[in-house]
Amino acid sequence: MMQRNKHILVQTTICFVVLLALVVVLAGCTRGTQGIFAELEQEEKIFSNNLGEGPIAELVVSSIDGEDSYVVRKGIRLFWRPVSGEGDLPGEGRWQDLAPPPGARSAAQFLAVANGELYAVFVRESNMDFGLFQREGDFWSEDLLNESLVHRHITGMAVVPGGGSDDDLLVVTAYNRTADSNDERRERRLIVGPQEDSPVVHTFDPTGGDDLQRVVVTDDGPAGAGVATVWMQGNGLWHMPLSELSGAANTINQAGAPAGTSDIAVFSGSTTDDWLVAVTLRGDVWLSRPQDGASISGWRSSENEEPAAQRSGTAFSTIAVVRNAEGDEPGLAVLGTRSQRNTLARGFFDASITPSSDGRPEMRIREPRGNYSSTQMRTSGVERFVVDTTEVTGIDGVRLFALTPNLGLFRADGYSGNAEDRWITE
């Protein structure tokens, strides 16, 4: 009996020692960017509209049925809702299906708004050719694509803003299935005004520019010493002078870009010229001042060509400038990430941009504030941001939309990068 009692006591002692060792060893095990209880304490119910989860590829603002509306491409389908809901509740306007034009398959490819008109590229029902359709009131137009382009494979569409009534609609074609020679078949082209009777056709040199993910324009600088330039991001960075865009057919040259560039944006400070900002899948943010010349020789934030900001282990997928710097008020950008295994590198980040005394912006990346941590965005990624400046009653500032690859569309009204920011899901 005594031996048995001793045996039990020994076993119990061993258990306690093991437990104590576990406490010591495991007490430091931590994963995450925020305390669990602290995060729970701050979580708020996220309002949800009816768009649901899924990949959101594009969002534009256009007139649908005579109302200013948001139009999104969710997968291959289009949805729309009025910019202003009927009441004051966020997201009260419900999303509705936007049917494809007659004669087109239901798969929408690209969306763009030029001169206030909504354009969409669909695959035509009769064959595998593309068609370009314009929304006219409650209906879609006939196919507007210039006849010379009908056998070409459209791989991107964008708009170069020209002040509201002088916008240029662009499409990129990457393949001409009816061309005679292989070289001609593979030629990539930029078409300016594909809906016009006489579109301008530029050629990418060398063969590249498969798609058109982002188009931005930098101005010619305060003294007009530089060259206003159109920058096109998509399988490389391409550029051409703005003045040549609608001119004679020309060759589009490739610019040097940081390795792994995924998106570009333009930032202008109150005392600086326009700066091109590029984000990369390596987690870098680079700056360049294109007024130094239309051809960029180097991307830098300082003389030794270091990135302006970095976040290791993070793949930046997109960038949008929410506001430029004004006086002492720093500018604000948002950096989306591509979802990956590193759970600390998902979602998106804020970046403050402050012009320094020599005019060179300084960037600082930080975790978003407000109710961001309560949203599912942080477990996913953001493929694109859309900054909407449409004036909406009761909203001070811009509306920021975050387009996610799997969790639908998120919206924050009056986003300013502070603790008051509130995201809802559309």
Partner: protein, 225 residues
């Protein structure tokens, strides 16, 4: 050893467990496993002769007990940040499996393994899985007994993409009715105190340190062997 008392006298009705198998660890584990199985499968259907009023069981070293608890998890509040703050958690569920060995008739020592879940306002689940040592003191008035328990150990906590191992202390009180010398049924009320300390060793700010306060109320089945 399990003795059955008659009034204040031991009547000498002593049940010896098979001590020959105790020295074999594997067999011991198998016995515990069998006991768990017994609890799960036959607790409700346990058929045993009701104790006669005159029998009062006592326990000592060598006697063991295992219990299974299931019930509600009630989030109370967080402290340590800006004062007392709500947890934002829904009512949840909890359960645990506990084993103890008697040191004396009143005192038992052992361990427990359990878990809980509750949901945030956006439906994200919080999971806490405590692994703890426990000390139990029994107040008895046959056929009822009122165990006072103190458990302490570690809790594996997970929420969204975050994970942390925290210390946990669980004081509790129960009320049980003994069906016979082996089976007892009752309820437990336990307070979970989880200090979640961030000491600046990770990316997380020390400002995120919180003390979690929760209540678990469970129904329990207890088997002694």
């Amino acid at each position: 050893m399990l003795s059955v008392h008659h009034g204040s006298d031991t009547i000498g009705h002593v049940i010896f467990l098979n001590t020959a198998t105790r020295s074999n660890g594997f067999t011991g584990l198998r016995r515990v496993g069998c006991a768990v199985l017994l609890l799960a499968v036959s607790s409700v259907a346990a058929v045993a002769q009701p104790l006669e009023d005159e029998f009062v069981p006592t326990y000592g070293i060598g006697d063991q007990m295992i219990s299974l608890n299931l019930g509600l998890f009630i989030p109370l509040f967080f402290s340590g940040g800006d004062g007392i703050q709500g947890t934002n958690l829904s009512l949840g569920g909890t359960g645990h499996l506990a084993w103890s060995g008697f040191l004396t008739d009143q005192l038992a020592i052992g361990g427990e393994f359990g878990g809980m879940f509750a949901f945030s306002p956006n439906g994200n689940p919080l999971y806490m899985v405590p692994l703890a040592a426990r000390l139990t003191y029994f107040l008895r008035r046959f056929p009822f007994e009122f165990p006072l328990t103190l458990a302490a150990g570690i809790s594996f906590n997970s929420f969204n993409e975050s994970f942390k191992v925290d210390p946990i202390v669980i004081p509790g009180v129960g009320a049980y009715w003994n069906l016979n010398t082996e089976w007892a049924f009752g309820i437990d009320l336990r307070y979970w105190w989880v200090p979640q300390l961030y000491l600046g060793q990770s990316e997380i700010s020390t400002d995120d340190t919180r003390f979690g306060n929760f209540l678990a109320t469970t129904a329990s089945v207890l088997y002694r062997f």
